[in-house]
Symmetry: C2
Subunit: 359 residues, 2 copies
């Protein structure tokens, strides 16, 4: 059966970086059927919704989805459920991509770009496994109500259930097993919550421990528990002590952004959002739509190209092609390919050329 990759370039620099990823895809996986769809602000502008049923159906029918970026100041006055970001939340929920994998990798050619001292980040290689379709992002009830005295109350339900916690914990352990970095200080899986103040956090901690004791212990992967505030600290103090960080939707959002910035290479970082085996995964750069540089050919397409690489690896089963892309990106980097964010002056297309030259 033909495999299909659905491209959702989105807004801002999204289309530019996806264009380069497409060149790479056409080279390493020429038989892959590429389709295209709308998401985000461009979808809102054309269809009045940031995610149409048509796009969601196309996504569900595809083997994998490669997304650029969504959002921009243009849509800041749009009602929140119609804003570009809502398209992102809806496609995550619609595809039930509950496992968001965000590597925070420090490419050694780029270690000097980090805010941290070189010795703290050189060789950094953390994987954040973030629960992506639950918690305070989607819990009900949520809303804003006006009280009798005219003041207002805003509320969100931060909630998790046993099955939600178990399934994401299994993913974290599978990944930690494949990495095998048990000798690090918090090697294996480090589960993060605020169990000292949140009941959903206490449930998180207890159920991670319960599924570990019942089912995962024999894998030999160590399990650590850490409070989210302590994790935010330790990510700065001793980032190389971490291996796989397992977090809920909200803490995962914040901690993965912090971790990605430590690497000094945020323009380089891909992400994968996975559902159960056999269902399409959603792949996207960690960076946003960067409206300030959109359309200028300055954006770094490596995060998009590495997102393609993750799609090849995790959804399309094309491990060799994925390895080839990784190698090509590394070599291009070693040979000096650098956009502005990395201190160079390559254009987006020249970065693509540099990778293609190594394939």
């Amino acid at each position: 059966m033909t495999q299909t990759l659905l491209l959702l370039p989105g807004d801002g620099i999204g289309p530019e970086v996806i264009e380069q990823a497409v060149r790479v895809a056409e080279k390493v996986a020429p038989d892959l059927a590429l389709e295209e769809g709308l998401i985000g602000g461009i979808s809102y502008d054309q269809l009045g919704t940031p995610l149409s049923d048509e796009t969601l159906e196309k996504a569900k029918a595809s083997s994998a989805v490669l997304l650029g970026a969504v959002g921009g100041p243009k849509w800041s006055d749009v009602a929140r459920d119609k804003r570009p970001e809502a398209g992102l939340l809806n496609i995550r929920k619609g595809l039930d991509t509950y496992a968001n994998l965000r590597p925070a990798l420090c490419f050694s050619a780029l270690a000097d770009a980090s805010a941290l001292k070189r010795e703290l980040v050189e060789g950094l290689d953390i994987m954040i496994v973030r629960e992506l379709v639950g918690g305070v992002y989607f819990g009900q009830p949520k809303g804003i109500e006006t009280l009798p005295d005219g003041t207002r109350r805003g509320f969100d339900n931060a909630e998790y259930t046993t099955p939600e916690i178990h399934r994401i914990t299994r993913v974290a352990f599978d990944i930690a097993k494949g990495r095998g970095n048990y000798d690090r200080k918090w090697g294996g899986v480090c589960s993060v919550e605020k169990s000292n103040v949140m009941d959903s956090g206490l449930l998180w901690k207890e159920e991670v421990q319960a599924i570990y004791d019942a089912e995962l212990k024999d894998m030999g992967v160590p399990l650590h528990h850490m409070l989210a505030d302590a994790c935010a600290m330790q990510l700065v103090r001793e980032p190389k002590g971490f291996d796989v960080i397992l977090a809920d939707n909200l803490f995962g959002d914040i901690l993965s952004d912090e971790a990605s910035m430590l690497t000094g290479s945020i323009g380089m970082l891909p992400s994968a959002s996975l559902s159960d085996a056999g269902k399409p995964g959603l792949y996207e750069p960690v960076h946003g739509s960067a409206p300030d540089i959109a359309g200028q050919g300055k954006a770094n397409p490596f995060a998009a190209i590495l997102s393609l690489e993750m799609a090849l690896r995790w959804s399309l089963g094309r491990i060799e092609a994925a390895d080839e892309v990784t190698r090509a990106v590394s070599t291009a980097l070693e040979k000096g390919a650098r956009t502005g964010d990395l201190g160079g002056d390559f254009t987006t297309a020249q970065m693509g050329d540099a990778v293609l030259a190594e394939l």
Copy 2:
């Protein structure tokens, strides 16, 4: 009327560091009446509760409260509402200390201790203003329930109201006004939330803006809004761009811990938790009870001494005494006073001696 300072040394290194702060208090404010009370694990052990009514009443009747630290592994199996941390949450709520001020200061003598490159943190001086008695910490309902199929659901209500947001916003603006760092990238007040996914966050953003437009605009203090994940990033990338960060209870917890670690001097950082004018404030080091080094005379008492300094300044109106303490700590540091956390071998008492010698 005699002013009273209630000492709540608590657990772990709490008593050791408070002891040194007391020596300083006796020197710079000899007429201050010092009282003592129990909180945390020691209170649980003696009274079966981490915060007795007696301690809370004493606290309400005092001019200010100086707390050491609470908690430790000894109490990890205690039910959560009896754990040492519950004592802390209860005294905050009981005193209605809704404004938690957490400076993140990089002492230039210590800039090399930071994980960040020196140029990024030298001279760093951020103030985090965290809402301390609302949000997901205290919102109702919260709980863990067992569902018919035997699985469980944990939930917490993240909520804010207009008055809660307005009062903390006023504090942030007052503080920013006193600092006057408007030329920084996010100078003035930078309000942080996740308004793109949380309704309580959207209310936060709207109500900060509303009280600014209605009442605070004329102060001339700039207002910025930033998403919490972006803030976690920018704190690493460009910490000196911040001035006053205004955040809710949960984001304030995480971001202030991240920011404090950037300074490389977490053993040096004090905090103040304030209620309305005329009511007692609660002062405590940012660091925890450090059970691993408790009782060894190794703990750095400067955060406790600087917490006393904040009490003198904010609750006791003794600005000169406060200035004198600040100067003495700076000089002691310049002359080389360093505990282990700062790369030296001073004992806790020797650090106290070094400060007293300058008073």
